[in-house]
Each structure stands twice: as structure tokens, then as C-alpha cells.
């Protein structure tokens, strides 16, 4: 989500534990389990189930000056497990300097230890920054030791009920770049396969640290979960 540039505060230290080696599995709550049609057409990518208003929640954009939280809706629009890639849109609803909700397009890296490890390696995030942010997720603590050793390359995440990702906003969809907002940073994300909740922390060296993103899967007034799909040929 676009944020204003704010003052830095000193990040806190966290520590944790360890684990094994991996190949990546899907989770239908994230939508990657929506089945491909019988593969008669090559190069199929599949849409993600249940994201009419897939995830909804808030991002805490508080600063020393004031407490503030923006309502956020997130849609996951596409996913390519083989390359550890996903993407979607993020809509911030009550942005003070915007007349309308601000929508951005983001691309994500799934930490599958094959395509991407826990170490970011770009976006001005050092390994220490990575460890600090991942450690803010309770579900990360069993993995910490191995991640500190090798970025988690030898971890087996195939049966882990959480999916770790990085989301990076790429461009504004409905406003110009002169809107007074920035999308320079990225999110460390943890998705829970059991209840579909998402938590995340925004990282941007020029913004307040640890702005927290908290989302739950939504079901558009339905009594249950609904699925849809598309195919790119």
C-alpha cells in the first residue's frame, strides 16, 4: 500500500529456532489449489478462488505525530507456483490525501526455498532486516535457526501450514505518481493456510518501521467460501 515517508525508529532484536528442506505445496485458501483444468492447453495460469473481496483488513500507518490506520482490501490475481510468483492489487480506502481509494498493483515472491529464500537480497533490505522482520511472525520461530544459517535453503516447507512471501507494489493503478504517496518499500507477509489470515510488515528505510498489515479472508456476505477461476492460454 502506498505510504507517506516517515521518520525511522530503531528496530528491535528477535530470535528463534529451526527446520529441514522443501518442495512447495499449494493451499486452496490462498487460491493456488484451484485446480487446473485437465492440461490440454499449455501455459495455463490459474485464477485464485474466493477473492471477490479476497482479503480485507487494515494497515497501521501510525507515526510519532498520530495514530492512523488505513482500511485495505487485497486481491490475489495470479499465481505461478513453479516460479514462486504471485501478484494482485491492493486498495487503500481512507487515504487522507486521496479523493478516492488508491489502488496499486503488486508482485510477490513466495519463499519456497527453490525460487526465493528468506533473504531478500534487494530493495535495501539486509539479511539482518530480513531476520528481524520474519521474526515478528510467531510462525517463523521454528525456522529461525536454519534461516540464519543459510537463508532457509535447506528447509522443508512442504507441510508447513504457513506461507511466507514478499509483496512489492509496482505501480499505481488509478492515481498518478504525483499523488503524494510512495510505494518504495515492500511487505514481509505471512499467510495462514488454516484460516486464511494474512499479516505483514511494511519495510521501507524511509518510513516508520513495522507498519503492520492485518487481513482476513472475506466472503462477500456469503455463508461460506466461493471459488472462481480463469486461464491464461
Amino acid at each position: 500500500m502506498p505510504v507517506r515517508v516517515l521518520d525511522n525508529t530503531t528496530p528491535s532484536q528477535v530470535s528463534g529456532a529451526n527446520s529441514g528442506k522443501s518442495s512447495f505445496q499449494s493451499c486452496s485458501l490462498l487460491g493456488v489449489g484451484q485446480t487446473p483444468l485437465t492440461p490440454k492447453i499449455r501455459h495455463i495460469e490459474h485464477g485464485v478462488p474466493g477473492f471477490r473481496v479476497a482479503f480485507s483488513g487494515t494497515q497501521n500507518v501510525s507515526s510519532v505525530q498520530k495514530d492512523e490506520a488505513w482500511r485495505v482490501n487485497v486481491r490475489i490475481q495470479g499465481c505461478d507456483l513453479e516460479h514462486g510468483y504471485l501478484c494482485g492489487s491492493m486498495e487503500a480506502l481512507n487515504v487522507p490525501m486521496a479523493d478516492t481509494p488508491v489502488v496499486t498493483f503488486w508482485e510477490g515472491e513466495i519463499v519456497d526455498t527453490k525460487n526465493y529464500t528468506f533473504f531478500t537480497g534487494k530493495w535495501e533490505a539486509t539479511k539482518e532486516d530480513d531476520i528481524r522482520h520474519w521474526s515478528k511472525f510467531p510462525s517463523f520461530s521454528p525456522l529461525l535457526g536454519q534461516v540464519e544459517a543459510d537463508g532457509g535453503k535447506s528447509l522443508d516447507l512442504s507441510n508447513y501450514p504457513y506461507i511466507f512471501m514478499r509483496w512489492k507494489e509496482q505501480y499505481f493503478v488509478n492515481v498518478g505518481t504525483d499523488c503524494g504517496l510512495t510505494i518504495a518499500g515492500f511487505y514481509y507477509i505471512c499467510f495462514s493456510c488454516s484460516d486464511g489470515s494474512i499479516s505483514g510488515f511494511y519495510y521501507d528505510p524511509n518510513s516508520s518501521p513495522y507498519q503492520k498489515l492485518e487481513l482476513k479472508s472475506t466472503n462477500d456476505g456469503r455463508s461460506g467460501f466461493s471459488f472462481s477461476s480463469y486461464e491464461l492460454q
Partner: protein, 645 residues
């Protein structure tokens, strides 16, 4: 030369004359009149001149001079004209020409060889029997005569199509003879390279034999030929090397691959046929190979093809080749698609979409399909331009089904909901066209249309869904679910899934028409053995089960009409499926049926216990597939809130 064709009787009488001088002059006259004159050829064919020529050359007393004139005339009839080839073959000329290739008089030999080459340039040429007539072919290859070696190459290029034929040629030493011709004349070198490509193509065994000839020296010679000063030689050498890389583990090092890319990109600058063919060769090099596409990207291939597209008045063949090459380059890599999308190509695309040539229209649609295989590009609005959408929609009713199919592929992608494009598409009459194609007799077209509709309905506004639903009609949807083709059935279920996804009122689509859609779904799921259909069906039922009480109760009734047959029911079997995706999708139905927020959940859970489904779900709580396990536990968690038995 006479200004009008001679009368039938006159020319035929002269051709049948017993006076050899009259006959000779008549044959020569025919030969001279038909050179480069298609109309005259057709008119003589109609008159019956071709059989008369064959009769003339078959006479025992026919002189060499007469035979040469007859043979040349026959070759001229066959040159670039299928009707001519047919007439020559029907007149029984072929065995005579084959015989004459071994004549004593070199002029007769040359004429016969050239005429046979004309015939072998046509698809109508007789299939050569390599098993039976290999000695003759080998004797042609051993000849010093360029026309004879050229004839051998034409025969191989025309007739060597299947693995067994390739193996026979390999086994009998044809490869070695062809390799010797690398050092022959330019024409011989070209003929041998073309034949070699035909023998090597897609045949790992033959490639292995070739690579080991002369301890690899033949392969080295081939690689050297990619530096030859003649562009056609370089192209043909590349084609042979592409056959080697595509069919074996040889030539997989980076250096060779980079070299091939560089040579082919440089050959694009040739303004003649070599430049046309280079694009097609490039396509076969990079097709389905991500590593080669990456190398090509790094060699600025996209830019080079784009630069060529900028040239005005490109031949259709050239345009087709460029678009196909771009489609392969953009097929897997986002960087390639992004690079293409960064260029100003709208005018070029529009011209190609409205081109007279069918193959160009097909190729540009295939290219658009590749480029649009990107959510990032779709989200950016690249395809919102009505100037592209309108001609694409028109191509849905193109006279060529190839064009229709490829347009469907492109449209299917760009209809995925991330842009306002759907309104543009609707304004251009796209819905009507898609619905029409969904009724096509051609199952492939039908499939493509349903897939496109599915993408269009994905996350569409209710108003858009209403419009599509009305245009499609309930009975058509039910028919598609009952389609004879399983792939169409599967897509139709996915389309329904997308219809009923969204706001609560969308579930009502499944109940339209007095329930004929649900009836069709139930019948299909009861009889199908296809996992894909089962999975889509389960997600559709799951979507309906996420609705209100009536919706949920309908699903209960559909799944468990009779309590005693439940263990053998399709639903129960789905829960026990070997395929974890099917198990997952079936469990989702239970998750939605037992949603604690719904008032009737208790009653449904009771029934699910009675029919044994709850026990099945309990056993799935430790399913080896994490997704199944989590969903089963989610369902059980909901069931337990109503008390456990």
C-alpha cells in the same frame, strides 16, 4: 507465337503426326508457349495436350531432341502449378521420366531430372518408396551431375517424413553421401543441407549417427558452414544444427546456442527468402525452450524483430514469420512480454489483424496471445485499446477457423478481469460472437469460446453477467455441460462456477430455467470418470453451498438423494479419490454446508452423520495432503460446534 490458343484438333493432330518434323515443331511450340504462362498451361491441359506429349516421348523411334522438348514441356506444365502436376502424373509421365534419368544422352538426363524436380516440389508428387528404390536414390546422390543430386535432394525433402524413412536413409549411407556434397557446388551444398535437415528432424537415433560420422568432423563442418559467405548456406546449416539441438543432448553448450541465435538474427536482414525463412528457423530454435528465449532476449532479439516490423510493405510470409517468432519469444518470459509491450506497436498490430493474408492474421493473434499471458501487462491496460479489440472481435467470424481459433486464444486472455476492457469488448459485439462460437460444430472452437466466456465472467459485474447469461441462454449452458467433449464439459462447469461466484444473488444463476442446469450437473457428476470434471463440479457445488439456506439444502438433496447409496455416490468417491485436488474440492463443499453462521447447519450436519460423511471427514483429518487435512479439520471444527457424537 499465335495470339490465340490453337484449336484442339489442330494441335493434337500435329502432336500425333507420323511426320517427326511436324511433331517436333508442335512440341517445341507448346513448350515455348507455356513458359511462365499459367493461362496457356491450363488451356492446354484442358485440351488434352499433356497425354499427347507423353505418348510422343514414349515412342520407340523418338529422337533425343524430341524427347528433350517433350520432357521440358512436361516439366514446365508441372512448374508451380498443381493442376499441371496432376495432369503430368495422370498421363503416366512419371515412370518415363525416371527411366530417362538413366539415359545415355546427357541432355535427356538433365531435362528429365529438372522436370522431376518440378514435380517433387509439389505435394502431389508420388511418395517415394525408400525401401524399394534406395539404390536408385543413392546412385543419384553419387552422381557428379548437379541436376541429379538436386533431384535426389528434392525426393528426400518431399518424401522423407517418418522415422522409419529417416532410419532407412541413415542405414544405407545416404548421410555420408550428403555430407560429401558439402564440398560440391553451391547448389549441391544447398540441396544436401536441406535433405540432411529432413533426415535429422526429430529423430534422436539418426542425429546420434550423424554426430558420430567421421568422429564428429561432419558436425564440425556443419558448424563451420554457419560462417559461410552465402546467406542461404548459413541458414540451411542453422536448420540442420537446430535439428541436432532439438533432438539430442548434443550442442547444448551456451556458445553454440548463442551462435545460432546471432546468425539467425543477422539473417533477418536479408531481404529475400532467406530473411523470410530465418524467422521460422528462429521459432523452431526457441520454441518451448526458456533458456534459449532468455539468451535471445539478452541478444536483443525482441528489438530486432520489432525493427523489422517497422519496415513498410513487408511480404506476408515475412510478417507471419516475425509474429510467430515474437510469439515464441514471449511465450514463457515476462521480460520478453514487457519488452514487447514497451514498443509502439498498435498501428502494426491493427494492420496485421486486418491483413488480407490468413496466415498473417493467425500469426498476429498467436503473438497477442503470448504477450497477453501476463497479469502484469493485463493490469496495466495495454490491451484496452479499442483499435486492437474491434478487429480482434471481427476475427471471431473470420472465414478461416484457424484465424477464429487463434483470435479466441488472444481474446480469452485479454478478457481476464483487470481492465475496463470488457465494456470495450461488449461494445464491439464480442459477447454475441463468443456465444455463437460456443455453438460451433468444431469442438476446438467450442472449447475456446467457452474458455473465453469463463474468463469474461470471472469477477464480472452482475450487469455484465446478466447480459452474458441472457445471450447464452439457460438451455445452451445446460447443453454445454452435457457436451460430447469432456474438455468442453469441464470448461462449462468452470464457467458456471464463475457465474455463481460473487454476490449472493449470483447463486440464482444455477437455479434458472427450473433447475435444468443443476440437473445437468448432477447427471454429469454421476457418470463422469474424469478427475478434472469432478473437481470443477465440486467447486461449483461448493459455490452454491456458500449461499443461503435454500441453496445449501438444494446441494444436500443433490448430493444425497438416497441415504442408503451414499458410500457409492460420486461425492463419497470424491472424498476417497487418489487425487488430492478432488478430495480438497469435495471437502470445501462440506465446509460450506456446515458453516456455523447458517441456521440450518445443525440439520445438515445430522444428515451428514447419518450418511457417513462426517466419519469420512474425520478420517481425512490426518490426510497426507496438507490442504485436505486443513480443510477437513476446518469442517470438523465447524461440526463440533454443534456437538460430537
Amino acid at each position: 507465337m499465335p495470339a490465340t490458343p490453337p484449336s484442339a484438333d489442330h494441335i493434337l493432330r500435329r502432336l500425333a503426326s507420323s511426320d517427326s518434323e511436324i511433331k517436333f515443331k508442335a512440341i517445341r511450340e507448346v513448350k515455348n508457349q507455356i513458359i511462365g504462362n499459367r493461362t496457356r498451361k491450363l488451356s492446354y491441359i484442358k485440351l488434352g495436350v499433356v497425354p499427347a506429349l507423353v505418348t510422343a516421348l514414349a515412342q520407340p523411334d523418338a529422337t533425343s531432341a524430341l524427347i528433350v522438348q517433350s520432357v521440358v514441356a512436361l516439366g514446365s506444365f508441372a512448374c508451380g502449378l498443381d493442376a499441371g502436376v496432376r495432369a503430368v502424373l495422370d498421363a503416366g509421365a512419371y515412370p518415363h521420366l525416371i527411366r530417362l534419368v538413366s539415359a545415355a544422352d546427357y541432355k535427356v538426363v538433365d531435362a528429365a531430372a529438372r522436370s522431376l524436380r518440378m514435380i517433387y516440389q509439389s505435394k502431389l508428387a508420388p511418395k517415394y518408396d525408400f525401401e524399394q528404390d534406395m539404390q536408385f536414390l543413392l546412385s543419384l546422390l553419387e552422381s557428379r551431375n548437379e541436376n541429379l543430386t538436386g533431384l535426389a535432394a528434392s525426393i528426400v525433402i518431399h518424401s522423407c517424413k517418418i522415422r522409419d524413412e529417416q532410419k532407412v536413409l541413415c542405414r544405407t549411407g545416404a548421410l555420408e553421401k550428403l555430407i560429401r556434397l558439402f564440398d560440391g557446388s553451391l547448389s549441391q551444398r544447398h540441396s544436401s543441407l536441406e535433405s540432411l535437415a529432413a533426415i535429422l528432424k526429430d529423430n534422436q537415433e539418426v542425429v546420434y549417427e550423424f554426430v558420430n560420422i567421421q568422429n564428429g568432423r561432419a558436425l564440425s563442418s556443419l558448424i563451420e558452414l554457419t560462417k559461410d559467405r552465402y546467406s542461404r548456406t548459413r541458414l540451411l546449416a542453422c536448420l540442420c544444427l537446430i535439428c541436432v539441438t532439438n533432438s539430442s543432448c548434443y550442442l547444448q553448450d551456451l556458445g553454440i546456442k548463442t551462435k545460432l541465435i546471432d546468425v539467425l538474427l543477422e539473417l533477418l536482414d536479408d531481404s529475400g527468402q532467406v530473411g523470410d525463412d530465418a524467422s521460422f528457423a528462429f521459432s523452431s530454435l526457441v520454441e518451448e525452450k526458456e533458456d534459449l528465449q532468455k539468451l535471445a532476449f539478452e541478444a536483443n532479439a525482441i528489438e530486432k524483430f520489432y525493427d523489422h516490423l517497422q519496415n513498410h510493405g513487408l511480404r506476408p510470409k515475412r510478417l507471419e514469420g516475425i509474429f510467430l517468432a515474437l510469439s515464441h519469444l514471449c511465450s514463457k518470459l515476462e521480460c520478453c512480454r514487457s519488452k514487447f509491450a514497451s514498443f509502439q506497436v498498435v498501428n502494426i498490430l491493427v494492420d496485421a489483424l486486418t491483413h488480407d493474408d490468413t496466415n498473417v492474421r493467425t500469426a498476429v493473434c498467436i503473438c497477442l496471445k503470448s504477450v497477453s499471458r501476463s497479469i502484469k501487462i493485463l493490469s496495466s491496460g495495454y490491451f484496452t485499446n479499442e483499435r486492437i479489440v474491434a478487429p480482434l472481435v471481427r476475427l471471431l467470424s473470420d472465414p478461416s477457423t484457424c484465424v477464429q481459433a487463434s483470435a479466441l486464444g488472444a481474446i480469452s486472455n485479454i478478457l481476464v478481469d483487470f481492465t475496463p476492457l470488457r465494456s470495450t469488448f461488449t461494445r464491439c459485439g464480442g459477447i454475441k460472437e463468443l456465444v455463437q462460437l460456443a455453438k460451433s460444430m468444431d469442438s476446438f472452437i467450442r472449447l475456446g469460446a467457452v474458455c473465453a466466456l469463463k474468463n469474461m465472467v470471472f469477477h464480472a459485474h452482475k450487469m455484465c453477467k446478466d447480459r452474458i447469461f441472457m445471450e447464452l441462454t439457460v438451455s445452451s449452458l445446460a447443453s454445454l455441460i452435457c457436451d460430447p467433449e469432456p474438455y468442453v464439459q469441464e470448461e462449462a462447469l468452470a464457467l458456471m462456477c464463475n457465474f455463481v461466484d460473487g454476490s449472493m444473488d449470483c447463486v440464482e444463476y444455477a437455479f434458472a430455467g427450473g433447475g435444468i442446469i443443476l440437473d445437468a450437473v448432477q447427471r454429469l457428476l454421476q457418470k463422469t470418470s474424469k478427475t478434472g470434471i469432478g473437481i470443477q463440479g465440486m467447486y461449483l457445488l461448493s459455490n452454491i453451498a456458500s449461499g443461503n439456506e435454500t441453496h445449501k439444502d438444494t446441494i444436500m438433496q443433490l448430493l444425497f438423494p438416497q441415504a442408503e447409496n451414499v458410500p457409492r455416490s460420486f461425492f463419497s468417491q470424491s472424498l476417497r479419490s487418489f487425487d488430492s485436488r478432488l478430495r480438497t474440492s469435495a471437502v470445501w463443499v462440506i465446509v460450506n454446508l456446515t458453516s456455523p453462521a447458517s441456521p440450518g447447519a445443525f440439520g445438515r450436519i445430522l444428515k451428514l452423520r447419518i450418511v457417513g460423511i462426517v466419519s469420512q471427514i474425520k478420517r481425512m483429518a490426518n490426510d497426507p495432503c496438507m490442504d485436505v487435512k486443513l480443510r477437513a479439520r476446518q469442517a470438523l471444527g465447524q461440526i463440533i460446534t454443534f456437538g460430537d457424537s
